[in-house]
Amino acid sequence: MNSKTTSFRSIGSFLLQIPLWLYFIVSVYPLFWMISYSLKNNDEIFVTNPFGFPAHFRFENYVNAWTQFNIPRYFMNSFIVSIISTLCILLLALMFAFAVARMQWKFRTAVRTYMIVGMFMPLQVIMIPLAILVRDFHLTNTYGALIIPYIAIGLPFSTMVFYGFLVSIPREIEEAACIDGASIYRLFAQVILPLALPAIATIAIFQFLNNWNEFTLAYILISDENMKTLPLGLLFFQGSYSTDWGAMGAVMTIASVPMVLVYLLLSEQVERAMTVGSAVKG
């Protein structure tokens, strides 16, 4: 192979990579933009330098965010609410999906449809009845005020995904486990659960992200300063006439860290979900 052919190939390879590089830039730019605007002031963000690299690194935005804003408290509240809700959604949705996808009983199709209908309920429609329920159960300004609705809201989509995943698992696996003497619980815990790990990782990321970022319900149901979550805390920087966008960007950057970590930890499982085919070799 002569050098001319090699250089043609490398040019061709470079040209083929251009769309990928463009896609990379488009994908990463919002993150860059968020971090760079967390280091600017309002004038730079809106007028003098909206899209570029910060002219001066205004680290005081992070100092202001940390000192004026009770980040550790809001962070902990968001973490508790998101973790408990996500775990409960995973457990309940997976068990429900197993019951309707793998077990035979009379109303399973009707029950599954009923669950999926929940996906089509706009939050605004249930807001007032939900607020009344939360008040009557004395849950206002507690973690329960958010955890229970988050679970209810997260279940329909999660069960739909788990159902789709579980129906694709070959029956032979269950039959083999039953022949070996596994009970229904052991079958669920030791056979189905490990097989469903990629779907669990996908739903875990999706639901954790939803719960971490949720604003509307938290805004209505939480007013106690000690119970506020991070999205509510962001309102702190919104003034009666103007907003400190730099400090708000700093909080958003800090708040994004857990999400990035969760994604990094679980992304391998998600990728596996895309690539794993049948669990049983033919």
């Binding site: 809106f46 849950l139 005020a145 052991r186 009666s240």
Partner: protein, 440 residues
């Protein structure tokens, strides 16, 4: 196998208990808090009042914290529990009302008070002693802040009647040789041309918010109709009066002269104010409350001017017509409050002390109740000009437009006026349609 089953059951029960306990633990606290507030307090015991008010920056924290500190001296038995409000168009407050979860005292505006008066979520304060005292303490001319158009008192106001002015950058005007004050629409259009040609945004306006375009239009209307939008609140008035038609035509001409940025309807307050403070815009339109920020950012480079008129004679005759209407607003009380009498006294006290802070610490003369304390800070020159020149000579304040349908139509259509292709004729047709429906 039994062990497996037991293990799984134990896990389920533990998770359920964790959930229930975490939920109910705080819930009991909340419940006990409510009960404390719910009981009529014994003599000498603390009265807990929940107050929903703005408390997020120096403009709102200062007056509120001062008022609460003063309350501690006056009524030590009262404990204030703050529920901070945010800029959400009172959506959270309306949800509180819909769920029967109203705070004892809340700060709100006339539009919300009207809704709450219908749904019995606001206490009518007419017959309280605190109201009589408040009426007696009012600055002259601000009665419309306290007494609603239906004759009732729903809330205790702290600020007086606020209004809009046009700010301008003196350095840019001098650089381009634009004479001030601008007195006529033609002069304003010419100034817009010069500014645009030199690469400046002639007038920065945060027209993403509809109220400011509406306020701009009201400024033009008040040159020939001092009552402003209030003139539209009459049964039988089904067509826009001439002063409103002329103002719409002038606004169209100014838009065509390039007074507003092409992107104005997509610009928020932070963007618009930054444009002005960074010296990219020659003028900026906002309320008199902007004086503090503009003096801080631009020092003596900035000043304000009166609204221009069709000719100099009209300008001179109308410059003291104030483009701001006094609508009832302030600290209101929930009828469901278990300590209603105390809440009424506290609401009046908070409003009076908040006004006192604004007058003494910020030097703002635009407050509702009088105060006998002296101003304790440096007053910006522009605010001093308002106190010395404008307020003592004020001829007439615009009147309140209570009809929300007409107000919404004005808001929508004045915003459209900043967009190419939307004409004064379109504006008049749309407004006449609404007036025909509402005033017939």
């Amino acid at each position: 196998m039994n062990n497996q089953r037991k293990g799984l059951s134990a896990l389920m029960i533990t998770l359920s208990m964790t959930l229930v306990l975490s939920a109910c633990g705080g819930g009991n606290n909340a419940a006990s808090d409510n009960n404390t507030a719910a009981n009529t307090p014994a003599e000498g015991s603390a009265v807990k009042l929940k107050v929903y008010a703005q408390h997020f920056d120096d403009d709102t924290k200062g007056p509120f914290d001062y008022a609460v500190a003063e309350l501690k001296k006056e009524m030590p038995e009262v404990e204030i529990e703050l529920d901070p409000a945010v800029q959400d168009g009172n959506q959270k407050l309306k949800t509180y009302a819909a769920t029967g979860n109203m705070p004892d005292i809340y700060f709100t505006d006339w539009a919300t008070l009207q809704t709450f008066a219908k749904s019995k979520n606001v206490e009518v304060l007419d017959d309280y002693e605190a109201t009589t005292e408040y009426k007696n303490s009012l600055n002259p001319g601000v009665e419309s802040r306290l007494i609603a158009p239906d004759g009732h008192v729903y809330a205790y106001p702290d600020t007086g009647i606020e209004f809009q002015v046009i700010y301008y950058n003196k350095t840019i005007f001098n650089e381009l040789g634009i004479a001030t004050p601008i007195k006529t629409y033609d002069e304003l259009a010419a100034a817009a041309g010069k500014l645009k040609e030199a690469g400046y945004v002639p007038m920065s306006i945060f027209a993403k918010e509809k109220w400011i375009t509406s306020a701009f239009y009201n400024g033009l209307v008040t040159r020939e109709e001092a009552a402003g939008f209030g003139a539209l609140d009459q049964q039988g008035l089904t067509e826009l009066p001439q002063a409103f038609v002329s103002a719409a035509e002038e606004m169209e001409k100014l838009q065509q002269a390039g007074l507003f940025d092409a992107n104005a309807t997509n610009t928020n307050y932070d963007q618009a104010s930054s444009q002005f403070y960074q010296g990219r815009a020659g003028m900026f339109v906002n309320g008199q409350w902007e004086i503090y920020s503009s003096a801080e950012k631009l020092g003596d480079q900035v000043d304000w001017m009166y609204w221009p008129a069709k000719d100099e004679a009209t300008y001179e005759a109308s410059k003291y017509n104030i483009a701001g209407a006094g609508s009832p607003q302030g600290y209101a009380v929930s009828p469901a409050s278990e300590n209603k009498d105390t809440a009424v006294k506290v609401a009046a006290f908070l409003a009076a002390k908040s006004a006192e802070y604004k007058y003494t610490q910020l030097g703002s003369p635009i407050v509702s109740p009088k105060t006998d304390k002296p101003i304790a800070s440096d007053v910006p020159v522009m605010m001093q000009r308002i106190a010395d020149e404008l307020l003592p000579n004020a001829k007439e304040y615009a009147k309140l437009l209570s009809n929300t349908q007409i107000q919404n139509a004005i808001n929508d259509n004045t915003q459209n006026m900043l967009v190419d292709g939307f004409t004064a004729e379109d504006f008049v047709i749309n407004l006449n349609r609404t007036l025909g429906k509402e005033n017939q």
